[in-house]
Symmetry: C3
């Protein structure tokens, strides 16, 4: 099961201290490239460069961090969980009163056993994140706060992969690399992207495939500003996020809402055993579709997810860990995205080449009717006639499958056989 392989790979990335920039991102991308996708290209954009309306910030790296009481007991330690440090914390090495320390602590009273994930990318600050239980145990005394981090000119790191196909039109997968030890809302995406890319790398494809791995938000904006011309060729796009748990299926449509990406995603989701919940782009968007679907870029990008970001209590906390996701959860996401790819690869507009119905008797299909009651054999003949009557050049395979209440993936062989028989032909 591919889901197990993805799970195992993700596990090997879990402890790497990723952030918006820095060596954690580089180490993660290097493992993807070295272990799975040798044709991955890795790029750096220097701090201070303008991308879209944004400016690449200084690069942040961190060695260690802790809070220690005056007796030398370590209360909070970055080594144990890299969520313990406020992302982009400035270095600090200072004795502080509880009162002063408290202004730099983040915890979740409503979820007292979770360490929250907090960042301060664009406002200078330092801080520690801890469970609310631990915070309540702090005493009204002095502590040592120590963060060995650096925040200096450097660069933002991202990667992409192009797998050329017969057509220049592209299918685009985007995923983000910037959260530290978070499983569903970080690593499930790059993990799935890696294994989809491996599958496509081994094949000859109709479409050109593009994968982008970049920090969320500013990384996507940077990727757009470097690749806008190529992105105009995107035929369908998928944002890979929150694809790892096993609780539910979620769908976030594109901004426009009725692109071919929306069509194939809704169709495939409708043929899963489980229900899915469709969210609203306007009300519920929250990942890189905010950039890729923005008016000036306007990609047909959808997100097919398990538990959606912001909609599960473990979201953006230490509880979104390797136990929250599962091989089964990842595997269904993998299968669904593969079905979308396979349907899109075969999704053409066909038109009938003949006048009236085909002569099925001649073609080895018999159709006997006794007293108005059709025999079983005729059912597959009927499906062929139903498909043929829809092939008017205005409907693609997914449209026809929707009209006939059938799963497009199962109709593909029939379309291929009708095309071989010369009964239908592709429209240009």
């Amino acid at each position: 099961m591919t889901g197990s392989l993805i799970y195992k790979f993700i596990k090997s990335l879990f402890k790497i201290p990723r952030s918006l920039t820095g060596d954690g991102v580089r180490e993660t991308l290097a493992k993807i490239k070295n272990e799975h996708i040798p044709n991955l290209s890795i790029y750096e954009i220097p701090s201070g460069e303008r991308v879209g309306d944004w400016i690449i910030p200084n690069e942040w790296n961190i060695q260690s961090a802790y809070i220690k009481d005056l007796e030398g007991n370590i209360i909070v330690d970055f080594k144990e969980n890299n969520l313990h440090v406020l992302g982009y914390s400035q270095p600090i090495n200072k004795k502080v009163s509880l009162k002063e320390l408290d202004e730099h602590l983040f915890s979740l009273p409503s979820n007292p056993r979770a360490i929250p994930y907090v960042t301060s990318y664009y406002r200078n600050n330092w801080g520690f994140c801890l469970t609310d239980l631990a915070r309540k145990n702090l005493k009204d005394e002095n502590y040592y706060a120590f963060i060995d981090s650096s925040l200096c000119k450097g660069s933002l790191t991202y990667a992409d992969l192009i797998i050329p196909g017969k057509q220049k039109e592209e299918i685009f997968f985007s995923t983000y690399i910037c959260h530290p030890s978070i499983a569903n809302n970080e690593l499930s995406g790059p993990g799935l992207a890696t294994y989809l890319a491996k599958w496509l790398n081994d094949r000859s494809n109709r479409f050109t495939y593009r994968f982008a791995f970049a920090p969320e938000t500013i990384g996507a904006i940077a990727y757009i500003s470097k690749n806008l011309k190529d992105l105009k060729k995107v035929h369908a796009a998928f944002n890979l996020t929150c694809v790892g748990d096993n609780n539910s299926l979620s769908f976030l449509p594109s901004r426009v809402g009725n692109t071919v990406a929306d069509k194939v995603a809704r169709h495939v989701l409708n043929y899963q055993n489980e229900n899915f919940k469709e969210y609203s782009f306007l009300k519920d968007r929250g990942s890189d579709e905010r950039q890729y679907c923005s008016p000036g870029v306007n990609l047909p990008m959808v997100s097919i997810m398990r538990s959606k970001y912001g909609e599960y209590p473990e979201y953006h906390t230490s509880l979104d860990d390797m136990e929250f996701i599962s091989p089964d959860g990842l595997d269904l996401s993998y299968q669904i995205h593969l079905k979308c790819i396979q349907i899109l690869e075969s999704n053409y507009f066909y038109k009938s080449t003949i006048l009236g119905e085909p002569f099925l008797s001649k073609r080895g299909q018999n159709h006997t009717i006794i007293g108005g009651i059709e025999n079983d054999e005729s059912k597959s003949s009927q499906l062929i006639l139903d498909i043929m009557i829809c092939c008017d050049g205005s409907l693609d395979i997914i449209d026809i499958a929707n009209l006939l209440g059938k799963y497009a993936f199962n109709l593909i062989p029939i379309f291929h056989s009708l095309e071989e028989d010369g009964l239908i032909e592709k429209c240009e």
Copy 2:
């Protein structure tokens, strides 16, 4: 009542042994031409000729057929009912065991008093159709099976009629001639077509009218392949089938579903006293609209029926006979199709020629309002104003009637009078 005349004419055709080809079709068409439509043209297409994806089969004729027991008792006799023989049976003259005979018998256990209608046009076979009651009476002994038929090179016969009008655009009626002694699902169609053609032959018409009489399926495909260019001029088309019984009203829309034929048919059906059931083209089609609405032909063809083929227990059995249909049933079908014709003849897009409302007082229409309560007289004025405000050139008479909740047929005189008054004019 025209329905009685149609009924009487159908009765005279009932016993003729029609099939896909052969003298039964010729005799039926000859009676239509000689007794009612002298301008009918009759055509033959030789066996072996290709039409669409199909090939014209050999011609089939039959003189007599029976099953006899060894004592000489005739058990099943073609003379009694021409449904007793499997359509396109090869000749046979052979002593057979019950076991062998049984493989060539067709009956309906679910409808034990009915002889089913079965054919084997494109697979060599011979057989007899009988009631399930009669079949159960057969004893385990030997029988003589005798069929005096011929299956040789010949031709497929069809006919058409063109009644030229002021415009080249055509209204097209199609009906089929190929079932032997079946009333609703065969002769009601040609009977209605004959009397609609007689009515139109006597008049000067706006549209050109075309009628086709051909065997179902392959006959329609043949007609299309001979007349495709002319069929491109069709403005509205009606398939005449199952128009004879008195049980219900049924409507099968065109493939596209919103053509002017669909519009006029739905409108007229909405103004009948009875409800009608609208079927789905994709799920329920089954007659020559399968050919005429196919993507390469794409006619705006609908079917206005009584009990729809496949939807009544007598369908495709000996019980679909002259007692199943009635003069009243035929008459309502005749009236409905006539209303469709009459509305289409007057159905133009009009636009108002004046600015604002017409000055009805000047035109002999008075409109007095006392304390906000309009008097009765004003209602017809109001209808005129309602019509005038809709005449913006984008709506035809049926659209306007639908908007106003009125029967288009009743509005025609008002449109004519407004046009005579110069208040509205036709759009080109």
Copy 3:
């Protein structure tokens, strides 16, 4: 409160005996011009001139009228209420039996305390309108019927006002002047028009504003026939009628139904505290939108009303008086129309000038998320991002407000600030 000023002004016009033509109209228009809108232009069209399908009738003026019994007691007196005389009554001075008089009396049995408003513009007649109670008190004796009126060649009077703006496209307000002492269904309209014009006269506007004051129906037709070319520039139009009472809010859409006038009116009505009832143009129209929305003119004209004409028992009777309307009722109508104006003045199609989202941190907007829970501060940031993602050039401010579930009036400052920041720009 502007509603009080409008109410006071209307009161000063209430007793003037207006009709389709004559000095009552002139006196009303003169007061509007002299007291409020010096730039109002007043026009006369001579009797007999053709406008649209209509002909300007003779001018009607009246000095006095009464019914007197033979003892000299005045039973019905024009001096008391100018509704007592049938509009356009010919002069009469005659002793009449009750029977003869009765044929010239109009009353409302269903509303016995109301004097109905009745006219006979295009059929020669004379008559008196009275309460049904008074009518029942008449005795079977002779009376004197006296009407001192004149009906001779003269002219029809109307007025308009153009307030030039930066753009040639016009916002058009129409209202009618022809009913005598009727408050909601007459004077509320001109009163509101006067105060909207005063407000606009004091400002520099984007759109050009046009106001027309004319007798209902024939006056509107006359106005159209004199100004058709200019009316083609109308961007949105409002018919001002029945805007004075305090009972409800009503909306009559334009003929086309989805113009920018419909859009802004529905939007503003949706953000009032009260519900509103939407009527059907086709079934419920009844004022000058019948002319302005007619096919040859086709203005995007809507009516935002309080109690709609024809829908309240006081309509077209003496009970539609100064007590039926109120300063509060007028004020809400004033505020609603002002909001429509203000939104239209700012209603552009904007497109984002940047790729992806704006960098709000840089722009002084902060967005901190702790464990998936957004802080309050982020809500306004979110609104900016929501607006920006909608600025694709295909949606105007009202469309975007509708998508986001916000009141467009409140979004205007945000759009202005985003435009100043260079993040969005107007589409041509």
